[in-house]
Symmetry: C2
Subunit: 228 residues, 2 copies
């Protein structure tokens, strides 16, 4: 679905040139369940921002369904993100003026899903992340972990081809965190949703079909478990 070849990202500040990603090669295929670990500042968020098309690489090439991402127009990339990719941001990025339900429903509205089906799918995913009773609250009325779960529900509700999740359990206790990972595994097995999960929580690693380490902007493959 997504292929990165020799991907590079350099940031410039007034004082420095920061090589956040160096020569990254990565392939995400249908049904993949990839976990990425790495120290703080090693390039994980930068990688996800490039894979989703939110940010542009400084070098290398990115392919979506075989086509170079650079050849799509900005509006085509927006359509790809809307229909094919689900994103869980490290800082959630919820819309403050919409309720939890409306935040989760938003991507389905963009896809012009009918009202009855939207209602069913939103209710179901909110229940699965334990937020059924919070559906009508605004982000400011939710705890950190509740906001994180709204962000997760929003990324999953469209059952996209690939979900890119940036530290999705960082604000969750281990019980609800495990529930969320099992939910992702079910979507992976039942709907072939591919997952790329960036996480500091090493207890998630055992579920990975492919385990990747990132350090100073360089990826290395650690394990492949095809039997998982």
């Amino acid at each position: 679905i997504i292929r990165a070849e020799a991907l590079e990202k350099v940031y410039f500040t007034q004082a420095e040139k920061i090589e956040a990603l160096k020569a990254v090669n990565l392939e995400i295929n249908k049904g993949d369940f990839i976990v990425i670990n790495g120290p703080s500042g090693s390039g994980k968020t930068t990688l996800l921002n490039l894979l989703s098309g939110i940010d542009k690489p400084s070098g290398g090439e990115l392919y979506f369904d075989g086509f170079p991402l650079g050849e799509f127009t900005d509006s085509e990339r927006t359509v790809i993100r809307r229909d094919k990719i689900g994103l869980v941001f490290q800082s959630f990025e919820l819309i403050p003026v919409l309720t939890a339900r409306e935040n989760v429903e938003y991507p389905l509205l963009l896809q012009k899903i009918k009202r009855v089906e939207r209602r069913e799918r939103v209710d179901e995913i909110l229940a699965r992340v334990g937020l059924a009773e919070m559906a009508d609250r605004f982000p400011a009325q939710l705890s950190g972990g509740q906001k994180q779960r709204v962000a997760i529900a929003r990324a999953l509700v469209t059952r996209p081809e690939v979900v890119l999740a940036d530290e999705p359990t960082g604000n969750l206790d281990s019980e609800i965190g495990q529930k969320i990972i099992k939910l992702m595994l079910r979507l992976n097995q039942e709907y072939s949703v591919a997952f790329v999960i960036v996480t500091h929580d090493l207890s998630i690693n055992k579920y990975a079909k492919k385990l990747i380490q990132i350090k100073d902007g360089i990826l290395s493959l650690r394990e492949v478990n095809s039997h998982v």
Copy 2:
């Protein structure tokens, strides 16, 4: 230093009345090292917001150094927070227009610490959280875990009487997370800084002198380790 008696907090939304904290009793003494675990939404952030005086309780009484917090004026409470309490927020709350160094230096400026000493203390704490090279960057140019460490450095640099830390390692890998906890333990042992650490990371529990559980707004004491 801080004492809570029968503390209550109720939130009102259009549809509901939410009893976020119920009859909470808690005492924080000099040199304490308290860890609080609890499920997402159980009331941890609410508790810290009351203990720091950022929010007002709906019921019960809060004492600071023996005096009821309600009897201080707003500006007196601000002085208490500035001089006595260090806060690490769950969502960091850095000042976007200040660099990492300036964000950490800010509380020392408020305390009118002299320039040379400010410089030394800020450089030292930034080095201890692994951010010496990022000192001149702005929050927008930092990773999630780097921002979290700026927030931690800012809370510790004044060596306050008590540090209230809301999930301080949620965005950190285990290596730097352990370093941060050891830094807190050193401040606790060398300067008698009291710590109240809210966390989902159960690996921190072994360091606690007092371990508290919170569920549906109710606290219960789980363990006291006076030998730690």
